[in-house]
Symmetry: C2
Subunit: 328 residues, 2 copies
């Protein structure tokens, strides 16, 4: 087990037993009679990941004294939706297919990855319709819509160096923070009522999720592949102008701005990220972005102020802090 | 308006007013604050298509005396799920990207097409959670899962000339007939109860949908592009061995079988369909497949026998017949 995995397990200790139930539900949902489908779900089933979203559903339930027998299913549904978005994120564009053939999609082609993601969404929605309350179906289908809108807008703003920070945060929030917010809200409210506490926990999730995304964006431009363990520099390759780059660009003079734009559209796509680090000092932009993430984490933690001091609440505060220091 | 469009409108005449409400709901669902999203949904909104699935929800409601105020929303949800599958069907594989660059996905790249389909699914599920009964959410999320499994299995059986007819029908049924079946069942049962009539109407939809798919598969190998109005020969290009080809192959001698396999894997992909028609006489295979479609249509119609004679029932019988004679 890697260090980061062990660290995450310690962070979610108050709900570790329930997380086993979540994973049992997930295994059951991914089991499918069709051998062709099973072969694929077996594979994605191993993409355990950090499962922070699912754990936060349970922790929000514990921290607000609202845990129910159905919380594990809600957490599993949130994790399945997240898994579906991951599978669909791996769909390659025409241009990317040509340059990244042996990368993410080597096991199956695009079409099958699309179908597998659809299958995971459908499973998630089907499971949510079996729960006693409709709050989970309605909140998560609405969240999925928001999530797609965020991703579409992000795609639409590729190569947009004039993007305002507020627009960047709105889009990144929709793309990433909305599922954290919905998971925490469901943890605090499911099966219903409790709207005020739900709103506070949704705000916790939103701020935490947005901080998570900003840290992700910083790691993508200045992280080390060895440490982070995934291909970095992808945002630059894909033309995504994230907060650290937006700030660097905003503060640059006309000549440097032109160089940055040139790097983003350089035909030598594989070297774009490296060249970006060569043409400009990303340090101050990353520092600004990490400062913003710090503020968001503080804001997230302040939302828990009204809750009793429990191991679950402490765990949520630690997760928020961990988002800032993570290097994976 | 094309002749086929006028013909379809006449077929669905008993519910034409309600179909306007369905389209109003669809327009509302596709409207989205984000300009980037709206630009895309405007575009798919014009892909009206035949809207047979939606019309059959309404007709099943009328024919069984079960029409409610919510049937138009159910029909809109069924159409949105269908639209999502169409958008995702257009996602190209790596190999296809290279040879069909200017085809289906010329307006947006693969990634955005994935997100748009996801958006449509999410919208459909979100709308279904707003209905008074959960029958629609639960039946349609389960149907969406089946549909994905069918598509995945189909992809898994590419180039499989040993596929049994029963397996072909199971897969084509899951892929295409399941949504017709669910729509007709919902029309007859929504918001609940009425299970026996629901089962009969589901069987109507299943048989009709499977016949529809078989006719589609025949048109793909022997139709004329001018008449059908879409690119044909795609199944052969994609390695899909459909019923008319399976039968042709089964009846062929060893030499012809080898030729057929060669055509399917020929590097000159654009000419595969044409070459298939050159190396073998597809006539008897198509005739067999159309005979099977005829049987399915009769089976579909027999499911309506217990219903009172109404314009809606007559319309459903005519739609079933039309499936056999359509050339679009």
């Amino acid at each position: 087990m890697s260090i980061s995995r062990a660290a995450v397990q310690e962070l979610v200790a108050p709900v570790s037993e329930d997380m086993e139930r979540v994973n049992e539900i997930l295994r059951g949902q991914l089991a499918e009679e069709s051998a062709a489908v099973r072969d694929m779900t077996d594979h994605v089933g191993r993409f355990h990941g950090k499962q922070l979203r699912g754990a936060l559903v349970l922790l929000s339930g514990e921290a607000t004294g609202n845990a129910t027998d159905e919380h594990a299913a809600v957490a599993a549904i949130v994790e399945m939706i997240h898994l579906a978005t991951l599978v669909h994120d791996d769909i390659l564009d025409g241009a990317e297919v040509r340059r990244r053939v042996a990368c993410v999609n080597e096991r199956w082609d695009n079409q099958v990855a699309v179908l597998l993601g659809d299958f995971l969404y459908a499973r998630a929605f089907a499971l949510s319709t079996e729960l006693s309350s409709r709050l989970c179906s309605s909140l998560l289908s609405e969240t999925t819509r928001r999530l797609c809108v965020g991703e579409i807008e992000q795609s639409n703003h590729r190569y947009d160096f004039e993007l305002e920070q507020s627009a960047y945060e709105r889009i990144s929030g929709a793309k990433t923070a909305s599922l954290y917010a919905a998971g925490c809200e469901l943890g605090a409210r499911y099966p219903g009522g409790n709207e005020e506490v739900g709103a506070a926990l949704a705000a916790f999730g939103w701020n935490l999720g947005l901080a998570f995304q900003i840290v992700d964006d910083c790691l993508d431009v200045v992280g080390s592949t060895d440490v982070v363990g995934k291909t970095l520099g992808q945002d630059v390759e894909d033309g995504k102008v994230t907060l650290p780059v937006l700030v660097t660009y905003e503060r640059a003079d006309a000549r440097l701005r032109a160089s940055i734009r040139d790097v983003y559209t350089s035909p030598d796509i594989d070297r774009r990220a490296e060249r970006l680090r060569e043409v400009c000092d990303l340090g101050p932009g990353v520092e600004f972005a990490m400062g913003r993430a710090r503020t968001l984490v503080d804001e997230a933690k302040s939302q828990l102020a009204g809750l009793p001091e429990t191991p679950a609440r402490t765990s949520m505060e630690s997760i928020a802090e961990f988002v800032l220091t993570r290097n994976w």
